[in-house]
């Protein structure tokens, strides 16, 4: 059955990858918690399991590596060796190699890695198994005694007795019975067995519950989920169109009973569609743990490499995000964490001199706030070199010296998100290759997210990423400018205002409004997109609408001619569109069947800031 085999191999790949990813974290735990026997046993078991399955499937290299790693781990588990940093490194190397081997299995490329050296290293690491510590023989507390073994040990019976009994067992039934018959002992054992049984009964409910949870899981190909998501998207669009038609009918035939019935049914369908949409969205949600679990290992490896010390504290790893968001999130987060260790955290001596603990502290925190997710990376390092960034911005001709001096810290920090802007004097192997925070920002923007930084000299840096819960369907505010309709993502919208064009003032040549004592810049959407028919304002004379939005800590307003209303839209990507350049995040089809462009607010913000600086 080749198909069956194919599926088993796919399962093996997925399951093994999960196991291996989990290992990284366990190892880091192990280093910080010390030799926790349970943890070591878990690690041992993981490798053991991978080996077992790989053996069946004939992945010999995986078997070879995991077998040797297992032997080494077994010695550690049994107390024959202690877990030094060097040994941890060797085992981690083995884990890394296993990941590479799994990738080959996944790619079906039949490539064999050169693992001879690794095998030899693993073997020799397992060799110097001297100094068997005193506590070894019975180091592991056995929950239940092994009947025969205990009896032999207590000299109740001899090894021969046991062997004889075992031979008997072929024809008879139970070793216990045979032994009782022969020796007439054991009240203690019977008692123990009974106790154990009682225990098990207590655990039964728990186990049943666990069983239910287990049997209700099913692995589904993501492609299938994607196509369901797509269909739901289409359905949402269809529903929107129906609602549109419905409200037109209601206006034209307010007293028609059939129209009323139609509308009732429509609102029911609408409700169900929304529920369905949420339900499908939930099937795609995964905990951020999936990405976060890589970081303990990365932090460990990197800080060692750079001779720094860093502790990573992870919070909110159960926070859930859409699978595709999670996948896209990995790279930018890795980059930022690397940056943090590379540029943020000081070497231990420098930290001590500054009166800080030797080891730097990095906090990775995920949380949900309304319909978006916040991810924060904080460190207690030296902070970003604001003066250096200012200087660099002037050097690069981005701003004049006077302008740079006037900018607040926040504005200065925004430079780091510009392409090719890097202040690192000495570029390390890891970060600071000129591709830096701008790539991070582009990545996050692609997810309709927003990233911002704040820093305090000597105290540390904080990077905050705001992400939508899902990518596919968003609430949008439909607006029009001239003869064009645009969709603005609703979640960053704070409020809308209607005012006269003359209420808009100019400061330093930039249009602004004053709202409750706060000065807020204005972006004219019509000018940004060069919309025709701007002069035709249906409402006559001078009324305009402003949509006030917040991206992170930045507030600005978008000037439009008319507000149309709130609509749920399905984002469709547009081929051949340079979203970054055009300021368009994609397109959607509205309830009345028109194709409408979705505005990328982050691009608007950037344009605005650049004109402000120019």
């Amino acid at each position: 059955m080749p198909d069956e085999m194919e599926e088993i191999i796919n399962d093996f790949i997925i399951e093994t990858q999960e196991v291996l990813d989990g290992l990284d974290e366990k190892f880091v735990d192990l280093e910080s918690r010390g030799e926790d026997p349970d943890l070591i046993n878990e690690i041992f078991r993981s490798v053991h399991t991978v080996k077992g399955a790989a053996g069946f499937l004939g992945f010999q290299q995986i078997v070879d590596v995991s077998h040797r790693a297992e032997t080494l781990l077994k010695k550690i588990r049994d107390g024959e060796m202690s877990l030094t940093r060097e040994i941890t490194d060797v085992v981690l190397k083995a884990v890394d190699t296993l990941k590479v081997l799994i990738d080959h299995v996944k790619a079906r490329d039949g490539v064999q890695e050169d693992i001879d050296l690794l095998l030899r290293v693993l073997e020799s690491a397992a060799e110097p198994a001297i100094e068997p510590s005193q506590s070894t023989p019975d180091a592991e507390p056995e929950a239940t005694p092994r009947i025969g073994e205990i009896l032999v040990e207590e000299k109740t019976i001899s090894r021969e007795d046991l062997d004889n009994a075992l031979e008997e067992q072929d024809r008879e039934r139970k070793i216990g019975e045979i032994l009782i018959d022969q020796k007439g002992i054991e009240p203690e054992f019977v008692q123990k067995a009974l106790n154990q049984q009682k225990n098990l009964d207590q655990k039964k409910n728990e186990a049943e519950k666990a069983e239910k949870e287990v049997s209700h899981n099913i692995r589904v190909d993501v492609k299938r989920l994607d196509s369901v998501m797509n269909l739901v998207g289409e359905m949402v669009l269809g529903r929107n169109r129906l609602i549109n038609i419905g409200s037109r009918l209601e206006k034209s035939y307010p007293d028609d009973l059939d129209v009323q019935v139609l509308l009732d049914n429509l609102s029911f369908i609408s409700l169900v569609t929304t529920d369905l949409q949420i339900a499908v969205m939930k099937t795609r949600m995964q905990p951020v743990r999936k990405v976060f679990s890589k970081f303990p290992r990365i932090v460990r490896d990197l800080s060692r490499k750079l001779n720094k010390e860093a502790e990573l504290h992870i919070f909110g790893e159960d926070t859930e995000l859409d699978k595709s968001v999670i996948e896209e999130l990995g790279d930018p987060l890795v980059h930022m964490i690397r940056n943090t260790i590379d540029h943020g955290i000081e070497p231990p001596e420098e930290r001590l001199a500054a009166g800080k603990p030797r080891a730097g502290k990095i906090e990775l925190n995920a949380s949900q706030e309304g319909d978006h997710i916040l991810i924060e990376i904080r460190d207690d390092g030296k902070g970003m070199p604001l003066e250096r960034i200012r200087q660099k911005a002037v050097e690069r001709g981005l701003v004049s010296e006077a302008e740079a001096a006037r900018m607040d810290d926040k504005q200065v920090l925004d430079f780091i998100f510009m392409a090719g802007f890097s202040t690192a004097e000495k570029q390390t192997e890891l970060s600071g290759r000129g591709v830096g925070m701008d790539v991070v920002k582009t990545h996050i923007a692609r997810l309709n997210g927003y990233v911002e930084a704040s820093t305090e000299k000597g105290k540390g840096t904080r990077i905050k990423i705001t992400l939508p819960l899902t990518l596919a369907i968003v609430q949008a505010l439909m607006v029009s400018v001239g003869d064009q309709t645009y969709a603005l993502p609703l979640s960053p919208v704070n409020e809308t205002l209607k005012l006269r064009r003359s209420d808009i003032k100019t400061i330093d040549g930039r249009p602004v409004i004053t709202m409750r004592g706060q000065v807020i810049p204005v972006v004219d959407l019509g000018r940004v997109f060069d919309v025709s028919g701007l002069e035709i304002t249906p409402e006559g004379n001078d009324d305009v609408y402003l949509v006030v939005v917040s991206l992170g800590d930045r507030k600005f307003s978008i000037m439009v001619d008319r507000l149309i209303g709130k609509e749920e839209i399905v984002i469709k990507n547009m081929k051949g569109l340079n979203a970054e350049k055009e300021g368009i995040a994609g397109a959607t089809i509205t309830g009345d069947g028109r194709v409408v462009l979705i505005v990328d607010l982050t691009v608007l913000l950037r344009e605005m800031m650049q004109t402000a600086m120019a």
């Binding site: 080996k51 092994r146 070793i175 154990q196 186990a207």
Partner: protein, 130 residues
């Protein structure tokens, strides 16, 4: 004749392994195969509805194969069920303990369908079921 309709429970914490063993059992013509992911899980399923044959991995979280074996052999309802322990080469040294606890036989992984059939036939014969 071997009853191909007999209910067999495969216990392993690694779902791919369960699938592999299941697949081999299917190749041998068995159709009624249950799964459990560790000893505790297996025991609660068994107490609900016993099976006619158990194939269990040794090394599992919560309750390992040996513990499960002991619990099965100490349960008046379950103690007669043939119990085949799957072990790795490295665990062979522990097999004495499993024999002590009443295991019907053991099989070292990886194994082929032929070997599994041979072991199962032996076990069934021993239990007077074939």
């Amino acid at each position: 004749m071997v009853d191909l309709k007999m209910r067999i429970m495969v216990i392993d914490d690694f779902s791919t392994m369960r699938r592999i063993v299941k697949n081999i059992l299917k190749q041998l013509g068995y159709t009624e195969i249950e799964e459990a992911e560790d000893g505790e899980h297996a025991l609660s399923k068994l107490r609900e509805k016993p099976v006619q044959f158990i194939i269990s991995d040794w090394n599992m979280p919560k309750m390992d194969g040996l513990e499960l074996l002991k619990s099965v052999r100490n349960d008046s309802q379950l103690k007669e069920i043939p119990f085949l322990m799957v072990t790795a080469e490295s665990e062979k040294e522990n097999i004495m303990a499993a024999i002590g606890a009443g295991v019907s036989n053991y099989i070292v992984k990886p194994f082929t369908a032929e070997i599994l059939k041979e072991k199962m036939d032996k076990v069934l014969e021993k239990h007077g079921l074939a």
